[in-house]
């Protein structure tokens, strides 16, 4: 499939012994994990454990000091990397939505495919309308972000990422800034996406959701992966004391 010999039976995202520091502060101290195509993985852990940094590295928003991250066989932290190629493959949704406030919902969704992929506007618009329908925001196409609720904005942000037709979606604590009553509508959207077979990496605090949707759960603390496993065993049979303590506080 890809020029570098990657085939779909290999991990779509492969993280190997990644180290990352901000100045003196080392936030990732050798993290490794693999994600297969169509898999949904959730990264959980106390705040400051490096979860968000990890997935930002996958998208090359942060650089790393050592180790390797590949997406579809392509090294992300290659200085000669074509970031455009990477970002076509990897979509990202942020905690603060980060919609462009001066563009309407549909313009937000259409902007990148038109500007970056140079696709014909009419095609993009058809796709954008379908995506907005998919995230259940029909009728809100021409609303500005400031006129939408947090949950609605976040769903527009998801549609905006999907419009680039990525192979992997990254979700960085996407429900953390939302009102409790709007959290669910966003989670439902993500769940449907997962059921459609989208590869998803989520950083989340929603344990119930992780248990239901994830294929695999990783627990990070102080820059390392402490424990991981499928949800069925992870939540019942956590071995490490740090995991146990975290779960007892949350659940």
């Amino acid at each position: 499939m890809a020029a570098n010999g990657w085939t779909p039976d290999q991990p779509i995202v492969s993280i190997r012994d990644v180290h990352k520091s901000f100045g003196e502060l080392e936030v990732l101290k050798g993290v490794s994990l693999d994600v297969m195509k169509g898999e949904v993985i959730c990264i959980i852990g106390p705040s400051g454990s490096g979860k968000s940094t990890l997935i930002r590295c996958v998208n090359a928003l942060n650089d790393i000091q050592a180790g390797s991250i590949t997406v579809e066989g392509q090294e992300v932290h290659d200085p000669n990397l074509n970031k455009l190629e990477l970002r076509k493959k990897v979509g990202m949704v942020f905690q603060q939505y980060n919609l462009f406030p001066h563009k309407t919902a549909i313009e937000n969704v259409m902007m990148a495919p038109v500007l970056v992929l140079k696709e014909p506007k009419a095609d993009v618009e058809t796709r954008a309308r379908a995506l907005i329908k998919k995230v259940r925001l029909e009728g809100k196409e021409d609303s500005y972000p400031g006129e939408l609720s947090g949950g609605q904005q976040q769903r527009v942000a998801i549609a905006r990422s999907l419009a680039m037709q990525p192979d992997v979606m990254l979700f960085d604590e996407v429900t953390a800034a939302l009102d409790p009553e709007t959290v669910k509508e966003v989670l439902v959207t993500i769940k449907e996406l997962a059921q459609d077979g989208m590869t998803c990496i989520l950083v989340t605090h929603e344990m119930g959701f992780a248990r239901e949707v994830a294929d695999h759960i990783y627990f990070t603390d102080r820059g390392v992966i402490v424990e991981h496993g499928p949800p069925a065993t992870f939540f019942k049979e956590a071995k490490d004391p740090r995991t146990k303590e975290f779960l007892s506080q949350i659940l």
């Binding site: 970002r87 603060q96 406030p101 970056v116």
Partner: protein
Amino acid sequence: MAPRFFGVRGMLEGIRSFFKELAETHPKWNFIYIYDPVQTERVLDGLWMTIQLSVFCVILSVIIGVVGAWLQGSPHRWVRAIVQGYIQFFRNTPPLIQLLFFYFALGQFTPTITAADGWTVEPIISNVGWAIISLSFFAGAFNVEIFRAGIEAVPVSTQEASESLGMSRLQTYIYIVLPLAFRVSLPALNNNLVNLVKTTTQAIVIAVPELLYQLVSMYNDYSTAQNACMVLMFVVYITLVGILVLGMNRWERAMRIPGYGT
């Protein structure tokens, strides 16, 4: 025994003769600029000069602001230091003295050219030129800071979002950062530009024949026209600034980012 007047010309004639009579019966209310075409022209010339001065200064100061904000992001220390020095000098000193300093103190260093008549010598930059330069740099110093703050107001996370969608630095700058920064700066920019138009009156100190100058010299010439000139001065400037403020407010509303602020 009111004469009959027909049509627009007739009406104008009527108004003129009314004010002429008024000036004779009430010498304190000599609206000379209404019935004396020479004085009318003086007022219109002054107004035109005020408008020209305002328009040139607004355009130039906005350009200075954009360039200055861009230079402030320069990697060279000394470039940033020069911009900083410029800003500090112009916004921390009275514009009136700036005008004097520019025109009298710096004006003497500029080269002179022979005038059109062939025997007088005049400086290459006239007093109007110096007024435009001085006032533009004055307002420009504020604009630099306004634009820079506007750019800083665009959150890094919004830029990251656009990057994560595959947009290049330039695309992010053109389609996301600049439009947002501009909208955010607009109220402050408009405020500063209104201030600039008010400050053009100070060009009187170097005898720029703008509206205030014309009216002041008119009542110096015709002492009976004092009250009339005062009324016109007040009305015209209030109207001018009023129109400007209204227009700017409309523009701000049209450009406002929906759902943000009040």
